[in-house]
Symmetry: C2
Subunit: 158 residues, 2 copies
DNA sequence: ATTACTGCAAAGCATTTGCAAATGC
DNA sequence: GCATTTGCAAATGCTTTGCAGTAAT
């Protein structure tokens, strides 16, 4: 429901936190939302890290630190930052695990239609080969990979 | 923890349920596990569906049907079937959402080292272009896509 | 007869939400 | 001063787990 990933509003060349914050302020203003202490704290903490982080870890950190921000607010602010395009949520849409049986199927990947929930399967030797190449380049021993494309099927008859 | 996705043991050309079941029986025997009613019911229900399904839906179905199997057992059996390579779990490893900030970064994807937890970023025009091509082929309007490769970095010095 | 498996209900755990109090505008 | 946010704690929802009873070997 609150899971949107629109085209990013930002695409700066200069990535200083101040510049980014100014853009976030603009974003908030454009939504008639308020510039609050809590939002500033979360925003800066996110930009202070240069690694990947878990929402829950950040929430735990901030819930117990000096610059206290509650869990709920951390999650709410991350949603805003995602909407504004400052952060990317690294995980599938759905919280829940899906399964499919693969006995007798070849390996394949999915286009997921966000309107209908439909899963369209595809496979592509080009993708497989390129991924192999990338793994070699990075000296990475692959166990398996996953490719998911989110969007909308244009098959609709409406 | 219980989330393993080893190389599939099976790769049949003939995909009748009976054949598959026989292989699952072998798999169970090889683990000194038992061939039970509940496992058979879950196995067949999974093979009866040709779509993607949610663990929870299956669990709900079986928890209330004639061939009653409890939620816990459904989950446990799906784990076994995943381990044996009969089903594929369609979702990232981790239950939890990860974030990263993307302000000033280009779009990229990840190699995730399962030993160290390290995220290695890469980008590949070849992949992007091929995905565009596939979307066109399927008349699919992409919103965004995700590529994740799980495995092990070979950089280790140990 | 053993010992693994099942069912159940309770626990886990990340995330979301309702609501009164606090804060930005 | 009024509306939005926050903090808190309770609720949610999927998944996992402990344990006593049940079934497979």
């Amino acid at each position: 429901m609150s899971e949107k990933q629109p085209e990013p509003h930002v695409e700066g060349a200069n990535s200083s936190t101040e510049d980014a914050w100014a853009l976030f302020v603009d974003f908030l203003k454009s939504k008639a939302s308020r510039i609050t202490q809590a939002r500033r704290i979360v925003f800066e903490r996110v930009f202070a890290r240069h690694d990947h982080f878990r929402a829950d870890d950040l929430a735990a950190e901030l819930a117990s630190g000096v610059d206290h921000v509650s869990r709920g607010t951390v999650y709410r602010t991350l949603d805003l930052m995602t909407e504004a395009g400052f952060v990317q949520k690294i995980r599938d849409q759905d919280v829940h695990a899906h399964y499919e049986h693969i006995y007798g199927h070849g390996r394949h990947h999915h286009l997921i239609c966000e309107n209908t929930g439909e899963f369209i399967e595809f496979s592509s030797p080009v993708l497989e080969k390129e991924i192999d190449r990338i793994c070699e380049e990075y000296h990475f021993k692959e166990r398996f990979h996953r490719i998911v494309v989110f969007g909308a099927s244009e098959e609709e008859t409406s």
